[in-house]
């Protein structure tokens, strides 16, 4: 009896295309990050607040993934960087093929760093490699400190965990140390930054992290 595992087949094909994306980005010397989080954790806000801090040193591109609307892309465009919009039309994650099309539409010779903002979803985006240098996940401290063990794949696949909205710490029941310990249990190598896009606290650590990782990849 022949059996086809559709999920595995799709995943295998995705990995192949992700490798092509990786080669393409490497060839053009582009450093790339895939930003993932639940809806409303602050991916767009992080880009809007931090991109102006580095546009004097790097040529930045952003690929925006949304199910519907171009709202995030419009917010990011105002920072003056190059933005490419993917509307997934119901699909709950970005995959390598969507990024592949986007790469063919961008002027890759005019970019140093590419940020990919994934669809707001703490589950499915973690299953799809895109071919980037690193995955970054955001978590808003308003989401509750029990999340790492409940959504382990996202934490195990990410190189950096950003806790956002720390300006709200005093108003919610969130044990930051507990959440960090659990994240480290799932992924002992994960790096962690606390910040608030609203107040700006911690944004300089995010910028330093980007520049350090950029140099280790392209230095």
């Amino acid at each position: 009896m022949h059996q086809i595992n559709i999920g595995e087949d799709l995943r295998g094909k995705n990995r192949e295309i992700a490798e092509e994306n990786r080669e393409m980005l490497k060839k053009h010397g582009i450093f790339s990050l895939n930003l993932m989080s639940a809806p409303g954790a602050g991916k767009t806000s992080l880009l809007v607040k931090s991109l102006p801090m580095i546009t004097d040193r790097y040529r930045i591109g952003v690929i925006e993934g949304d199910i519907q609307t171009t709202r995030d892309a419009e917010r990011v465009k105002k920072t003056g960087v190059e933005v490419y919009q993917i509307q997934t039309g119901g699909v709950c994650h970005l995959d390598a093929a969507m990024i592949h099309s986007a790469l063919h539409s961008l002027d890759l010779d005019a970019l140093d760093i590419l940020f990919i903002e994934n669809v707001g979803n703490l589950v499915c985006p973690a299953e799809f490699e895109l071919g980037v240098d690193g995955r970054v996940m955001l978590m808003s401290i308003t989401e509750g400190d029990d999340k790492p063990k409940k959504y382990p794949l996202m934490f195990s696949e990410s190189r950096l965990l950003v806790f956002n909205k720390i300006d709200l710490l005093e108003h919610v029941d969130f044990d930051l140390q507990k959440a960090k310990a659990e994240a480290a249990e799932i992924n002992p190598e994960i790096e962690i930054i606390d910040l608030s896009c609203r107040t700006g606290e911690g944004l300089e650590n995010w910028i330093s992290w980007i520049e350090g990782f950029y140099k280790s990849c392209r230095g």
Copy 2:
């Protein structure tokens, strides 16, 4: 040439099983709700805070859907209600077949109301009917007021929209009227309740809504 649309095929099969669930629940006179939201919007907190307000009048059961861990089920069990745990093992939503198995394991003659807490995900759970009387979505006001148009399916499929964490309104940039207007644009029939599981504000409106809808379905 023959073509198989795998997505449609799965969706069709799911609808059939959802109909079986609906019949089974009706036969036992059980009123049922499917609770959906992004991770950390407060589905479990809403159950934990509000179930003790109605356990004197109704016999309650809860089906808890989680990717990993039994954390939510343990929290809900402390309220003394019947809890059945589904661990989806990576799957990002509940489907009708998972609920069907759960219904066969519960003592349906001993229940008046069944709450189903879906996996924390603002996208995929909205695509899968479970066979319940109504779908309820929660949104934390910390998620940002731009969400309805970005995740329209969840809003169009829900009968009730609960805005949770309204105790944080003064600390975030969230325009509640704008979010409500957008939700109503997507789904003109949607009912809306504002509440805070933390302070208890608005919980009595949630209870009244449950009892009113219960009576209209089973009265």
